[in-house]
Symmetry: D2
Subunit: 366 residues, 4 copies
């Protein structure tokens, strides 16, 4: 595994679904930042399962315990570690899980990579439960960014074929509404929930997309060629289970356009350089332009479905039918929204810290 992300801020995720605990260490947090623990708990609740009809009914009490890195809830410069105890720990016989890989899960690939020694209980380190520590780190970064006037907003952009209204690229705003199912168009939201209810009733699942905006960003963040903002965001977002696609600004749609349609002209706005449109998604040459940063991430349908599926017995080298037991999210997208926000917040905070050294000399000579 390689579960450490970041450069100035290094976020290290650990844990398996059924191990004693999961958790995160953040190394590189500047000293002196006070965490609002209630706001963090509220953010983490948005990711927690079992709280509404469109997610798994499995209950988790995902309150983090902070082991170190804080003095009176304020960062002290030392690595910060927080853990969440697993209540669902290992028990019973997992031989069957190791033998018949679940389609679209990591089971088979992990079996080869780890030689059969991987933890199969509950998905091990591949479990979506590992997004909880990601959200702890991201929740802290969201507060850091907010203090700097930077906000991260995300909504469910689509579920199956049902699409929400996209953000206004120049002025993205998230309306008040159900924070567990954030959409811009409530009618679209209702239709999405109907789709989720339907696939659940059919022991099936459905995919979707999340659109995210970051506002209040200064121009000048990002370190091309390989640590530009797209690179940084992509590297962390593809760490969210089920994420299979990503586009910035006009993205795939922009690839169908002409330059005269896709280029965003510059203009002056209250003495500041802005673009009238924002098909570049706030990133030019890998560097923030000062316009809202915009991207959209695609999530595949939850792989765990109740229907019979074709698989193989690895021990017998023979085909077999698999029926996955238990209850699972019929659609991961609503709970992916805070994960996307968390990932974006981590990437942006890291880029912000890295940018502190860009101007060391010329700034002082001015």
């Amino acid at each position: 595994m390689s579960s450490i992300y970041g450069e100035a801020l290094r976020v290290s995720i650990f844990g398996q679904s059924h191990a004693p605990a999961i958790g995160v260490t953040i190394d590189g947090l500047p000293a002196g930042f006070s965490i609002d623990m209630e706001a963090l708990a509220a953010f983490l609740r948005r990711r927690a399962p079992g709280r509404n009809p469109y997610s798994t009914p499995r209950k988790e009490d995902d309150l983090p315990e902070f082991l170190c890195g804080l003095v009176d809830n304020t960062t002290c410069g030392a690595p910060l570690t927080a853990i969440i105890r697993n209540t669902n720990t290992r028990s019973g016989d997992y031989a069957a899980l190791r033998d018949v890989p679940r389609p679209a899960h990591a089971d088979y690939a992990a079996q080869i990579k780890y030689g059969g020694f991987q933890d199969v209980a509950g998905g091990g380190h591949f479990s979506a439960r590992l997004t909880a520590p990601l959200c702890i780190a991201g929740g802290i970064c969201l507060q850091i960014l907010e203090q700097q006037g930077i906000r991260v907003l995300a909504h469910i952009a689509s579920v199956g074929e049902v699409e929400d209204t996209p953000f206004d690229p120049v002025n993205p705003v998230l309306p008040a509404g159900n924070p567990d199912f954030p959409v811009l168009d409530e009618a679209a939201g209702q239709a999405m929930q109907a789709v989720i209810a339907l696939v659940r009733s059919e022991a099936d699942s459905v995919g979707g997309t999340v659109e995210c905006a970051v506002t209040g960003l200064p121009a000048g963040l990002g370190d091309p060629i390989f640590d530009g903002m797209e690179n940084r965001l992509a590297r962390i977002l593809f760490g969210i289970p089920a994420c299979k696609g990503l586009e910035f600004g006009s993205g795939f749609a922009g690839s169908r356009l002409r330059g005269s349609q896709n280029n965003d002209g510059f203009r002056m706005e209250n003495g500041q350089v802005k673009t009238a449109t924002n098909r570049h998604g706030g990133i030019l040459g890998g560097i923030t332009s000062g316009m809202p940063l915009l991207f959209r991430a695609a999530f595949k349908p939850t792989p765990s479905i109740g229907r019979a599926q074709q698989s193989v017995s690895l021990s017998q080298r023979a085909e077999t039918e698999l029926r996955i037991q238990g209850r699972h999210d019929p659609c991961i997208v609503p709970r992916a929204v805070p994960c996307v926000e968390a990932a974006a917040a981590i990437a942006v905070t890291d880029a912000l810290l890295c940018a502190k050294k860009d101007h060391i000399f010329w700034e002082e000579s001015r």
Copy 2:
């Protein structure tokens, strides 16, 4: 800048479009690999401009000079460095370029980040010319992979609204044809070239997509959570200028499907575990599954167009009109194909080297 990519294999790109030279250093190449210099030159020619009607007529002689890392064209374990001299070096007055940023280019963002000290001539370090050193490194990796039975294939999947036939996900094959304009469907290719000719005649440009497949990969490559195959590929692919979107397997289309439609069942095929379909794009949980790895990258239209565009004078803090001189690729996509192959080859080779340590203990105890 942060122009170093990779973990076991570290690829460091340097140079500006009009500096004396551009180049690349590869640190971590295993010793004892013999480079086929002719094959490398042939690969580099595919990226070079000026050789056909749909690219810029500017001529470049992009033959690399190897400064070190080789003994008799065989890697010696020391860092390998190759450079390409720029014939178009700095001259004249670039004050105008620094004052009026080109829309959709890095100019404005770089001006803020580097405090006005960035090299503006020819786009500096942001120039697409910097894909030449990427292709040197990638071309070497392609040969390394080929020796291991791994092949990287890519074609123009779309130009504007015109789409090529996609790869067969289970058995991707690239037909013989024009290597400078690789498509699966020659008729689609003709239509694409017509679109490119049209936008060129209108002093405009057009975007498109590239589809890439990697075949012959063993199962077990990739290091989740943050160095899984999607993370690794994304980090390098977004380093190619104009890349604004990326999807693996069924990607965005898969997000519209149900689990029962998108999951790929396992089956036995000649004693090997395979999937009947390949909507997962050869990656499960960030790890290769042994099926072909498949992804699609979106490229925005070339930002440089001959038409008048709206911009600002940074010195005067006033709006102005900009008309970009010179000749530019009306569509970057054909030349992006070898760049995508190169980037994929680098990411896969790095993952392959990193995987050499996965099984150290259990393998020996068997």
Copy 3:
């Protein structure tokens, strides 16, 4: 802070002396290695304080709790995290500690770096207690190395002016004896203990050195220029508190010699290439030679002494006298021995994993 070490194996140390816990995450451990928990506990006891007259009488129960990374005590490929709860957690008023920095401690430097937000209780993240998680990681690596036939030996080479017999450089052996005070010459050991008893009675402390040997190493480990064996070992060893010097092979003494005296000639020994002497300390050009790896680390006297010392009040900007309360190790060196072994084991294991990719091509073609 930057408390992550390693490349293939990444060891992340976290915790403060009086925070709820301290701990370590190891990312990159190959799957399938079974940890001998009793042997690990025995190793950790060697570092634990309070068990004999020459260390601090403060008792600590340093048994690690493994949170993840294991299935039935066998590595599963996921990051391994172990923590140790602190029983001495924060309480009382630390304002005085923050105001008057202790000489030779990190207090003043940390005050400047962290702007007064650092955790001062018990030394915070700078406490020697943080060597406990280092020893957890190192203890696991020692077992991994032992399985590969590699052993790490260390002894107290000096305390104050009293010197132990050095290792035989060609065949280092550690005699049976008191594992808490390992020496080659028991009489020297007695004299060292007498010195420690004396300085303790005088409310003072004393420094010393540790000599370490690694035997059974294959030739070919280490990655020059900047990740050669000396670089790797130095980077981790200077992470042990109070370490202020390091020399490999003949080291400083070798700098007084002539080439004809210091060079080790090669010879054949049972069909293997060896050196008759070992002033190079088993490392040539940063790479292991197959001879025993040898180094010596210098530790300063424990900074905490009972005597009055000159310091300043940071708030009053005035000089003042400081008298440190509590009981401290009069000599850190005996407990530094297992820390040095642990650090060496981590560095060597990392180098071993990194070397797995050196020969990928030529080995297969043979």
Copy 4:
């Protein structure tokens, strides 16, 4: 190989002694710094061989050619690459060199690591010639530091048994004198030169030590546990060929002292916190204290000597006698002085850039 050093500033060394060129890329240099090319050339001359009786008479014209990273000699934010052409390029038959390893050289270890594919001509990537690109990077960093009021001073502290006067630890000053043979005590310098002349006449060599001081450093640099100032400096200094020992402040001598002797009390000096003595060498807990940073590095005798030495024929698996031809430095220490300065400057500059993010929040709230 792993020839990249640094975190915010990444210095990548490439080249072999007899390859077409050697060079360096610096990624992460802040934009806007103007390099004084004459001062840099003067610094590089101090490392160049062939200019006086105590170094090798081999002439090298080590003027760097800057390929990129500069606009009008001012850093532009893009990676900076400089190369030096080798005039002594590969020719002739190196089979003998590959067969009989030179004692105390990397030959044998490299043969095993690189499977016989390593470049043996002139020592390949292990050649001391590779310190020339290190000095290019270091020479630039020295200028950067000087602009910030930080100076790096080094002198020959010993040659064989002859010792120079050490720096005043509280106020290190380097007297004017021969810049190619910097010493504090001219009489000691004369004695050292006599020793070098003697060993040369006897076809032998001799080792020595270099003492280095960095003055003007702010308190607060360095990132413990593993990127503290000792860790950072050690990692780069052990990259200088022949460096086998390193100590900070009182170092090995301090390990013989008592705490009451070695601790440096704090005092107020013109309103600033200082220590009256400086046995801590300007580093406390891995972080700079604001006092001069002091260290001493040990260099082994030049391995290449004219006398007959015992070696083996790898092909014949038999012992043989080796007589090294050519002329070599009888003592590497005088030319190691600028290399130590360069390495220290790189490490300090990197730490300085990394520290720019320490105080992001609390600084602004003051």
